[in-house]
């Protein structure tokens, strides 16, 4: 019982210590790297196709400042991305959300590659077939068709008649 109590007290003290450390960390303002790490996952809503972390316009500077403020307020990266999506739409996200119609972006390319691989495999198989058939024809003719057999029989019969 005493051992359990000691363990509980020790766990409690550890959690208090780590909470203090976490709080102390959250008081430090976010660095440019932290801001840019989030901004890199967003695109400038105005000047399209420009990642927010490298966008030089004043509007982009404002958006990066907004990210800095949100990080300082304790918002997570996911919450910030969500905010930008709600304000400006999914087009500002570098990685489209895994929901609804956007699933096509994730599912279609692998599906097309799989279908392509299947047909490539089939075609390769087809391309190797004629060689095999040619070697069979050139061989003993053991696998010839009944049609060919009757033709050969007639041919041999005609040869015998000639003799």
């Amino acid at each position: 019982m005493k051992k359990v109590l000691h363990t509980l007290i020790f766990t409690f003290l550890l959690s208090v210590l780590f909470t203090g450390v976490a709080l102390a960390q959250s008081n430090t303002p976010p660095t440019d790297d932290e801001v840019n790490a989030v901004a890199h996952k967003l695109y400038c809503p105005v000047c399209e196709s420009t990642p927010l972390d490298v966008c030089p316009t004043d509007a982009c500077k404002d958006w990066r400042e907004l990210i800095r403020t949100m990080l300082a307020d304790g918002k997570t990266e996911a919450q910030i991305l969500q905010h930008f999506q709600e304000q400006y739409g999914a087009r500002v996200l570098a990685e489209p959300p895994k929901e609804g119609f956007y699933w096509l972006i994730y599912l279609l390319p692998p599906a097309i590659i799989l279908v392509g691989a299947f047909f490539l495999f089939r075609s390769l198989k087809e391309w190797t077939k004629p060689k095999a058939a040619a070697s069979v024809l050139g061989g003993a003719g053991s696998e010839s068709s009944p049609e060919k057999d009757s033709y050969l029989a007639r041919f041999e019969e005609e040869l015998k008649k000639q003799k």
């Binding site: 105005v46 316009t57 509007a59 404002d62 709600e86 739409g89 096509l104 279908v115 089939r122």
Partner: protein
């Protein structure tokens, strides 16, 4: 003869061809359905403007409400101005728009609505304070309103809607004077 038969057997079988076409048609149908669903109805001059909602910036309201629908303004002439704090030509027309609003604000017949296109809250607040804009202003969330209004070129753009909710005029670019704004409103009054 035998060689010809072998040739016709090569390639993709009928079943596979049907499967490929079914896949492609299904894919096109899916993409078409998705695009159609994502597309907003668009306003055209002479037609009623499709419905949209506005959630005003803090400090702004219309008839005591922080939110409203376009249909709440039926029976009034509505001037919708699309702007952004990063847009320099918008700054040029902002004082004229506010001056024009001061002329109409007590008339109860004309309403000015500002729609802030793709902006930061801080930038928007700074802009609204700088030009002392008093008519109701709301952010264009997900660019939904500018999409419905079928934004032509960029910002600023102003849309004039008559009392029946029909789009009458689109002004592309900034107004040059208060008189220009008045003339536009008077054309349907």
């Amino acid at each position: 003869m035998t060689e010809e038969k072998t040739d016709t057997k090569r390639g993709v079988s009928v079943t596979a061809q049907i499967a490929i076409w079914a896949f492609l048609v299904g894919l096109l149908a899916l993409v078409g359905f998705g695009l159609n669903r994502a597309r907003n109805p668009m306003a055209v001059i002479g037609d009623p403007v499709p419905e949209f909602n506005l959630v005003f910036y803090p400090g702004y309201e219309y008839a005591g409400n922080k939110e409203m629908k376009l249909s709440d303004l039926q029976g009034k002439i509505v001037v919708i101005n699309i702007w952004a704090s990063w847009c320099k030509p918008c700054e040029q027309e902002a004082p004229d728009l506010e001056a024009a609003w001061q002329l109409y604000k007590d008339s109860t017949d004309v309403v000015f609505i500002g729609v802030d296109y793709v902006d930061t809250p801080a930038g928007a607040n700074e802009y609204l304070t700088k030009f002392n804009i008093t008519f109701p202003n709301a952010p264009d969330l997900k660019s939904n309103i500018s999409s419905i209004l079928n934004r032509q070129m960029g910002v600023p753009e102003t849309y004039l809607i008559d009392r029946k909710g029909i789009l009458r005029q689109i002004k592309i670019g900034p107004f040059e004077s208060v008189n220009e704004i008045q003339t536009m409103i008077q054309s349907i009054q």
